[in-house]
Point group: none
Chain length 200, copies 4
DNA sequence: TATGAATGAGTATTCATTCAT
DNA sequence: CATGAATGAATACTCATTCAT
């Protein structure tokens, strides 16, 4: 849809706060008022953008899991599927603090249900790929991975000010490589889960 | 300091966005302009509030680590020290997206240095408590725990709309118990780290 | 246009600094935001007010020049056309120091071009009326008259404090009658120009 | 005096509005409050700066007039004495619109008297140099020259925006060379005065 | 003389959203 | 389906000035 496309393209180019509905309208070749025939708030519009992106990510995950992990671990899987999706990562980082507010309950509920349905399917695949996971644990672990992704992105990918500040050697230890840290943490996490299952 | 106190108390009562500098001034018994004698922006003011809270949390961690983990694990430690600090958790959840923007480079640098200095000390204690950690790993693991905390809080502690929506049974699986999940993830994480050290 | 009218009427009643955009909106029967649909800053709004006033003044000049000076001199012409336009004089006295700042380059350029186009036409008429003027001198002399008007207004028309002070006999010599001085200076100026042309 | 010096030096470096009393205090090596022991408002401070500058200008004029005009004309005299005094010109351009407001009546009166006393003396010299001037006309003509200077400066010396705009060839005709125009206008003015005296 | 901590008034501007056509 | 003109709420920040010491 033209509006979603326009919103997505603008989001790719600039931060969420910098995007005005007027700009979306222009990019979509529509009048401002027309946007509101399809999305009742700016947040809802970008919630749908996020939904689409999440869907594509889960598609990617599903495909990879269907082919089997083949010795590669979950950390790799997440890093490989997220690296080309930085827009998604940015969307996730505003999803909870911004998008899910100022949207009607019904819209949020629909959004949540859509996501959950997809995650359940991916969770099942994950359980198949990781035998030590018990039934139903796939979904739960996916949401936790998700939380880790969100937090790590916020902490590891700084705004302009912090980016400048982190160039200072005295605070070098606070620089975090997002994908590196994500992979390592997930590796440790899954190693730990597997270990916990084998022993007590 | 009166201003920091007032800001902290207001933050305890209402969301950050709802707090006006005028309200802080009234609560502190000062004129609006006086606030700006000490903090050049609203964000800087709350950055200092956050700094103080972070300091107290690290104090708490330090004391606990000095007494020794005594069989309890890191997950417990974090849960125990964070549970009484929900204001801190809320501050952390806006720290990167809001507070560290609209603040001068110098202020952010000073903030980062203060935090880092404290974290280095706590990291050393953590290394002492967890023999499988190599030298210098304490700091790194603390920042990663921190990222997990931030992400989990965002995802697990919803705003009013989402809170209502999550009451719906159909999306029950998306409810996350912050402290429960944090403890479990950290346990798995550290179990994994320990395991990784023992084997390849 | 309602907004320009409202702004003009308010300017007639009070000093520029005392006029708020809120007041303009109320007077125009519009919402504050609507003003900014048409004028991007307060300065731009009053720049357009000034443009309209300047246009009317030049209209007046043109008509008078078309009828011919008929023995009357330029000083008379200016005095006669400016005396009923004290709002214009006040606008000119803030035009350079205030209005032309805080306005975008494009707006200022458009303003300048509009004024110049009009002044060129009036300048041509002036050259016709004053045979000793060479081709193209009309415009230049008009801008110089304009500068004189601006300066004389600033110096001769005092604010409240100076008005009180000038009542004191000891500084009587500093009182200037704006229109009297303007007429005399222009008469001398044009007498001089004519003389310069006749002799070396 | 240290404060006047500091104010003057800052004014040389930046526009009036950009100068804060805090900056003056720092530059003078004093505390902010101390400034107000000597000058009751910012405007009064700069009024004294202006007074000093005006005095030096009149000194310069006096000396030149005492040496005699020697064939040179008044336009030359003004251009020569004003060219090295651009700070004075800037001060004059804010004198009436800004400085003489927000200053007590007594202060303005004293200022006016000081200036008048000096101008009377210079006016007498001018009358001596220009025989066609009648007694008492020196002062009056000086104030009119002054008005011309003020207006021409406002119109001819643009702020940053207008400076950029005037670079555009389409409005080239609006560029005015301050000193060139001043000299020419004064020459014409005095030629006219002299002519008027000889005839009619 | 000097300090400097405290004051507090004052307003332009943005932009998501609406609704009559 | 689409328009686009109109809305209006909402707030951080500056800096000249004061006055108790």
């Amino acid at each position: 849809m033209a509006i979603l496309d326009a919103a997505h393209r603008l989001f790719h180019e600039q931060p969420y706060e910098a995007i005005t509905m007027a700009a979306v309208a222009v990019r979509a070749g529509l009048a401002k008022g027309t946007l509101y025939l399809y999305f009742s708030t700016k947040e809802e519009l970008f919630l749908q953008v996020a939904l689409a992106e999440i869907g594509q990510w889960l598609d990617h995950l599903d495909k990879s899991l269907d082919r089997g992990l083949k010795g590669r671990n979950v950390g790799d899987l997440m890093v490989r599927t997220l690296r080309p999706r930085q827009d998604l990562l940015r969307l996730l980082s505003i999803l909870h603090a911004i998008l899910e507010r100022n949207v009607g309950d019904a819209t949020v509920l629909a959004f949540k249900r859509s996501v959950l349905a997809r995650v359940v399917a991916t969770g099942a695949r994950l359980e198949r790929a990781l035998p030590f996971l018990r039934s139903g644990e796939g979904v739960r672990i996916l949401f936790r991975i998700y939380a880790l992704v969100v937090g790590l992105w916020q902490v590891a990918v700084p705004g302009p000010v912090v980016a400048r500040v982190l160039a200072d050697p005295s605070v070098r230890a606070m620089r975090i490589d997002f994908f590196g840290a994500l992979g390592e943490m997930l590796d440790a996490l899954f190693a730990g889960l597997a270990f916990q299952r084998r022993h007590g």
